[in-house]
Structure formats: C-alpha cells, structure tokens
C-alpha cells in the first residue's frame, strides 16, 4: 500500500492536472508511518550508543551480563530468543502445514471457512492468557515429562518453545491454507483428470506450488515468536547467563523479550550505560524481527504473482 502511493515521482497534480485529496492524504499518511519507523530506529540507535561504544561487538558476542559490574554481553539472550523461536517453529510447522493441507484440499469449502474462522479466533487470544495456562499446566507437564533428565524446574527454554508453538500455530496454519488455496483450481482439476489421486494432487502439485507462500507463513510465525513477550516471560525462567549448550534446552534461560519485560528496565533508568544496554536489546530484537518479517512478506508477494 505504501509502495503504491509513494512511488509516483510526478508532482501530485499529475495526469488530469488537478489536485487529488485521496492521493495526497494517503501519501502524507504513508510518509508519517515511514517517519515514525525511522524515528523509532533513530531513537533506539542514539540511546543505545554508549553501550556500543563501551562494549563494541562484544555487546553481541559477550556471554556475561552483570549490570553492576558494567558487563553487558547479550549473546545468551540472543541465543535464548533464537532457540525458543526455532523450537516453536519446529513443532508448529509440521502440524500447521498438515492441518492446512486438510482444510484446503479435503474439507468442503463451507466447513473449511468455519474452521478457519475458529483458528483465526485462536490467533487473537491475548498472550497473557497463554502465559497463565503455561504457568498452570504446561510447566508442570514439562517438569514431569523431563523427570528422567532431572531438570531443576519446569521453567525451561523448551517450555517456552512449546508454548510459543501453540501460539504461532494459528498463524502458520491459516496462512499456509491461504497459500494452498491460491493454487488455481484449474490445475487441480487437470491433475485429477489425468488420473492422479487426491493425495497425489495435493502432495505432488499443490504443495510444491504453494511452497513460497508456506515459507512466508513460517517466517511470519517466526516473527511473532521472536517478539512474543508475556507468555515467554512467565515460563522461560528468566535466568541470566545460561550456558550455550544442549543442556540449556531443559534449563531456565533468558530471551531478549523476557529481559526487557522484567524489572531491570526500572533499575536501568537513569544510568546511561545500563539504560543503553537495555535499549540495545530492543534494537537487536527490532532488527531480527524486521528482517524475518521482510523476508516473509517478500515470499508472500512472490506467491501472489504466481497465483495470478
């Protein structure tokens, strides 16, 4: 929508030579949105400057975070964020895509619509609700499940990953379903006409064609997983400086969002270096989410072109 209105380089009163309110208003609002984003990034950059100056690249690669000793290494949190998001994706992808194949290829259209609405409702459930369910049931379940491995508690990176998987499942499923439905029906009919079974058509024809769209669904799900705060906050354990090892999967850890959601932001306020370190975490988070979302939208666009 932005590219469409911001693209024309001709003066506003172009073509028919008269002023268009719609055009100029949408241009103004698009610019406003762009400026807001640019301003946001700029503020983050400026406010986090002191920590980049003090720690340099060590801010991203450092593994120790002790604010009172002025040690700021964000790697364990970046690691936590990545691990948690990828566990979520690993669990949500097979289930979400299979479910989408079912709704898009097998269910009659009317039932599909009802199911889709229900799933999309799930995507709108506030994350704190998921978080509380996580505290009440999931962390105890994980705690008992992992007993042979002797975890210290039910707050682990794995718990957060499973909870996130549930949360991004609706996104993954409904967008994958859209991608599958985007494959022209004529091709499906042709395949059936050639004698392919329903399963062969779905797996051999529709699925490969919808792959870019499904990729987009996964990336957008991943984007949501990166940014999710409250639900993760409640079950991840919030332990600083977790070791970057396999064992850490079943131990308490910290993600970028759980750190930012905690009480440390209040302590950091007023201490320019500590504050910069906290804002820097926000910047890293913003950067990761933007990259993943952009990639996702790119894939989604490519799918649209194919579908036309």
């Amino acid at each position: 929508m932005i590219s469409a209105s911001a693209r024309p380089s001709l003066p506003l009163a172009s073509r028919r030579g008269r002023f268009s309110l719609t055009k100029s208003a949408s241009l103004a609002f698009s610019l406003l949105a762009l400026l807001t984003l640019a301003g946001l990034v700029l503020i983050f950059l400026v406010q986090s400057l002191p920590v980049w100056r003090q720690e340099g690249i060590g801010y991203i690669t450092g593994i120790k975070w002790f604010y009172r000793a002025n040690l700021f290494g964000a790697l364990p949190m970046i690691y936590g964020t990545l691990v948690v998001a990828f566990i979520a994706l690993l669990l949500a992808a097979p289930i979400g895509i299979s479910a989408a194949l079912f709704t898009a290829e097998i269910l009659p259209p009317r039932v599909r619509l009802v199911l889709k609405i229900l799933v999309e409702l799930l995507a709108g459930v506030p994350s704190v609700v998921y978080g509380l369910l996580g505290i009440l049931y999931l962390r105890n379940w994980v705690y008992h499940l992992l007993t042979p491995f002797d975890p210290l508690s039910g707050d682990t990176l794995l718990t957060a990953g499973i909870l996130l998987a549930v949360m991004i499942l609706p996104t993954v499923m409904t967008l994958s379903d859209d991608a599958l439905r985007g494959v022209p029906a004529a091709q499906r009919h042709a395949a059936r006409g050639l004698g392919l079974t329903r399963a062969e058509t779905a797996l051999g024809l529709t699925l490969p064609q919808a792959l870019p769209g499904i990729g987009a669904a996964l990336l957008l799900g991943l984007g949501r997983a990166f940014g999710e705060t409250i639900a993760v906050f409640l079950v991840v354990g919030r332990q600083d400086n977790q070791p970057l090892a396999w064992r850490s999967l079943i131990e308490a850890g910290q993600t970028l969002t759980s750190k930012l959601g905690g009480s440390e932001t209040n302590i950091a306020y007023g201490d320019s270096l500590h504050w910069a370190a906290m804002v820097g975490l926000g910047l890293i988070l913003l950067a990761t989410t933007v990259v993943v979302t952009l990639l996702g939208s790119r894939l989604a666009q490519r799918r649209n072109i194919h579908a036309e």
Partner: protein, 282 residues
C-alpha cells in the same frame, strides 16, 4: 505501517482520557488492599480508578516519577537514588501498613525437616554455595532458588537483611520470579524450591514461611507481634506514594486507605494495620 499509525492515534486518544482516570501502579503486595479499596470507591463514588502492578515497587516509583500515574504503590522506602533520578518529583510516601518478607520453601523441604535458616545459610543458598538441602539440615534434594527480581520491594528487603545494603548483594544468575502470585505458584509446584515472599502469602499448604535462626539460637517467626515490634528482621513498611501532597481523586483514595474501612482491608490481606504497630517506623 498501518499498525504504527493506529498506535499514534491510540496514544493521542489515551492522553485525552488520562485526566479523568486515577492511575495507580506498583507493588503486588500493596496491590491486594489497594485494588479492593479501588473496587469499593468505584462502586460507591463512581470513581474511575485503574490499578496496575507493572514492575513491582520500583515500577511504581518510576511510573510516578515519569508522571504516568498519580499514585505509586511500594513495599520499600523511596531511596536517595530514586530522588536523584527524578529531581523534579516530590516523593511523598504515605505509610498505610506493615508487612514482612519471609524465605519460603516448598512442601517437600518443609516436611523434610527444614523450618528455619540462619543468615549465613541463606547467603550460601543465594550464592549457590549450598546446592543440596542436606547441607543445611533439610532433605536430600537439590536447591532450586527462585530469586525475586532485583528492583522488587521484596528483594530489596531481603538484600538489606542478608547483606546490609542491596548494592552489596553479589550478582547471581538465578531463575527469576516477579509477582507474588507467580512466586507462590512456582515454589509450590517445584521440588526443593525456595524464594523470598511476603509472609502473608505463605499459605502453609503448598508453600511455607521459614523462621530466622539468630546467632543466639532463637528462632524468630514472622508473627504479627514480631513484625509490630520489629523483632523479626525482614519487616517492611507499605506505602502509597504521591508527588507532593495528594490532591483531588488521589486524596480521596489515600484518605480512604487510611480510614478504618481501608485499614480493615490492610488487615484482611494479612498485613498489619497502622494501629497494630508498637513503634513508629523510621
């Protein structure tokens, strides 16, 4: 993009409505009586009150400092650091009751025979020097220390007692817990768990408040008497904080909490009301 623009619009809207709503934020400990007080005022005086517990006591102090709320709730005194951070704000703490922080443990530790700790033992547990409850006279079970987030009133009271000054407390990497509800739930459902929590939240069914063993061998329990006389070392005042003298709706709320009806609420949630205190707190 669309989202950002609508956010701007929402923010603009929010700033219009702010003038009418009495906003309160801070400690989950003070929240219990305060939220109930707000409920009563909402019903009786049709006041528009919003009570929140973002970031605990220090969240309440900084929200007040930033002018986002008219009243901050805190279970720790306003420190000199806070006053330097917000030089323009006249922090005015209003004492509404008294509470105690206890070390709380899960049922298996309590049943395993551990019912009191010395200061030294608590420090060793906090710093990870003691990894099994056996070493301090408890059951053969690993220690899982859920640390209250630094910045929370509860944590500050604990650090004052154990290390003299929160700034002298060693920095540790422990799993952290925030609100009282979360703390109680997590300790109650984990074997070998310990944490710091407002003693009135220890229900004696799933989580248990430990006594403190003094050097002379006495065990001090967080009983109302011991809290009122400050014999129990981790007692703490509960505050509502305003910027200068409370005015308008904020004054109505503060006056209500200090009235007999409000003080009843303080008692109802297991804290000590002002008239139960034997000596004035500094």
């Amino acid at each position: 993009m669309k989202f950002l623009t609508s956010c701007c619009a929402l923010l603009a809207l929010a700033s219009f409505t702010q003038a009418e709503t009495l906003k309160i934020n801070g400690s989950t400990t003070v929240n219990l009586p305060a939220a109930e007080g707000a409920e009563i005022l909402r019903a009786e005086k049709k006041m528009d009150i919003q009570v929140d517990t973002q970031g605990g006591s220090s969240g309440g102090i900084s929200a007040l400092g930033d002018g986002q709320v008219q009243i901050g709730m805190s279970s720790k005194p306003v420190s000199d650091d806070d006053r330097t951070k917000y030089p323009k704000v006249k922090f005015n703490p209003i004492h509404i009751g008294e509470d105690a922080v206890a070390m709380i443990v899960s049922k298996d530790v309590w049943d395993g025979g551990l019912q009191a700790l010395t200061k030294q033992q608590t420090q060793d547990l906090y710093e990870g020097k003691v990894k099994n409850w056996k070493e301090v006279g408890g059951p053969d079970e690993r220690v899982v220390f859920f640390n209250k987030e630094p910045g929370r009133g509860t944590w500050e009271v604990f650090a004052h007692w154990a290390y003299g000054d929160p700034k002298k407390a060693p920095q540790v990497s422990l799993p952290e817990v925030g609100g009282n509800e979360e703390t109680r739930n997590k300790v109650g459902s984990t074997r070998g768990a310990i944490s710091q929590l407002s003693s009135s939240w220890a229900d004696g069914k799933k989580v248990f408040a430990l006594g403190i063993k003094t050097e002379s061998g006495d065990v001090l329990q967080p009983t109302p008497d011991n809290i009122a006389t400050h014999k129990y070392p981790m007692s703490r005042p509960l505050f509502l904080i305003t910027n200068g003298e409370p005015q308008g709706e904020a004054k109505v709320f503060v006056d209500f909490m200090l009235s007999p009806q409000g003080q009843e609420l303080v008692k109802k949630h297991g804290y000590l009301a002002l008239d139960q205190l034997k000596t004035e707190t500094p």
